[in-house]
């Protein structure tokens, strides 16, 4: 299978850099999978799991909260505002993230921001359930 270059960077560090087969992105308009030779695209991300497949049938999950993905001829670059690999996630971290998202929901009056925060809370709850906490 053809591979392409993928980089996942958060403000604090580079989380992933290398060749991969496929990446599933939690884009704002719905999840999308990027494969090699994808058309140049730029999309905003919502809260959710990003799945990296570097060997078939073997994925690595990373929880991202907001950010951007840029697909061009050089590969895929994801700028995540916050990124937590699934293996580093604990119940406390998730609870803290949920609390923050709920606070964001309460502190804003803007309809779009409220909607974004609401879906973030839902996604985080789902993540918590998926990881059996």
């Amino acid at each position: 299978m053809a591979t392409f270059n993928f980089e996942l960077v958060s403000p604090e560090r580079v989380l992933f850099s290398g060749d991969v087969d496929a990446v599933v992105l939690p884009a704002t308009e719905g999840d999308m999978t990027v494969l090699a030779g994808h058309a140049p695209t730029m999309t905003a991300l919502k809260t959710g799991f990003l799945v990296i497949t570097s060997t078939p049938g073997n994925g690595r999950r990373i929880l991202v909260r907001g950010g951007f993905a840029d697909v061009n001829q050089n590969g895929l670059t994801v700028l995540a505002e916050r990124a937590l690999p699934a293996e580093e996630l604990t119940q406390e971290i998730l609870d803290h993230e949920i609390l923050q998202a709920e606070m964001a929901y309460d502190s804003t009056n803007d309809q779009a921001a409220k909607h974004a925060a609401e879906s973030a809370v839902a996604q985080l709850r789902e993540a918590k359930a998926a990881l059996n906490f």
Partner: protein
């Protein structure tokens, strides 16, 4: 001529000071390593951010619809200077060189008849600037209670700046900080952050981008985030520069103290010897007189 006891006291006090400066140097060296790794880890994000933004902006024609963060407000009457310095002193010329750069900039703007407003991040810069610009300083952001610089601090400052920009309080914003080149070289830097400086991307191709959601919408969220990233990066660079400056300042202080101790010990030994010789002469000449 100081007495032997005075000399002894002075040597003891210089030795005590030397111990302190030596300890500070070692603490700064340990902190520097951490700050440097953090600053270097943050670089890829900031670089990617500006290249993504460059890609995006190269395809946009500046018009009335363009976000004001990119196009500017159309005037440059009111300038905001964001001066990032350290919270603590004893780090050589670090704080004063940033403050000097900001002061020169402010003076030049005021000579041109522009209005200047200043936000100080860090107490030391505030202490220096407040003497001359007490009227212009509108806010002091204190990061003393922050132990580990995180993205949240950059975000907090960016939100404050954005709120003032939205309220139309200023037209142009410049960020002052010290870029970390190496332990002995920190370069005070002024960086335009509003309107955003977009470097022309070399990779701009004619490939048509798909935007999801709309182009303008992405730009509208990307621009404030870019501001946060730039400020966060400045804070990290500043933190590394501060520790570097403190390390070299404390290194030379320790060396100076060493030299001083050597000199004082020499004087002490000389005068002790002189005293012994004098007493001997007195005894001998007394014996001869008999």
């Amino acid at each position: 001529m100081p007495s032997l006891k005075d000399l002894r006291n002075r040597i003891a006090s210089v030795k005590a000071t030397q111990k302190i400066t030596k300890a500070m140097q070692m603490v700064a060296a340990a902190k520097l390593r951490r700050a440097q790794t953090a600053a270097e880890a943050a670089r890829p994000y900031a670089e990617r951010m500006s290249s993504v933004l460059g890609n995006l902006a190269s395809g946009i024609v500046v018009g009335p619809e363009t976000p004001r963060l990119l196009a500017g407000t159309g005037s440059d009457r009111v300038h905001l200077l964001i001066v990032c310095t350290a919270e603590r002193g004893l780090c050589g010329a670090f704080n004063s060189s940033i403050a000097r750069l900001a002061r020169d900039h402010a003076n030049r703007l005021m000579a041109e008849g522009k209005t200047v407003k200043i936000i100080c991040v860090g107490k030391k810069g505030y202490d220096i600037l407040r003497r001359q610009f007490a009227q212009q300083i509108i806010e002091l952001i204190d990061l003393r209670s922050v132990r580990q610089l995180g993205f949240e601090q950059g975000d907090m400052i960016a939100q404050k700046v954005l709120a003032r920009f939205e309220a139309g309080e200023f037209d142009v914003a410049t960020l002052f900080y010290s870029r970390f080149r190496s332990v002995i070289a920190q370069i005070p830097t002024a960086q335009h952050i509003i309107p955003a400086q977009i470097e022309a991307s070399g990779t701009s191709s004619d490939a048509v981008y798909d935007y999801e959601p709309e182009e303008g919408e992405i730009l509208a969220t990307l621009l404030p985030r870019n501001l946060t990233v730039q400020i966060f990066r400045a804070l990290l660079e500043n933190a590394a520069s501060e520790q570097g400056a403190r390390m070299s300042a404390m290194d030379s202080a320790t060396r100076n103290a060493g030299e001083m101790i050597k000199k004082q010990t020499m004087t002490y030994n000389r005068s002790r010897q002189a005293m012994i010789t004098k007493e001997l002469i007195e005894i001998i000449s007394g014996a001869e007189a008999l």
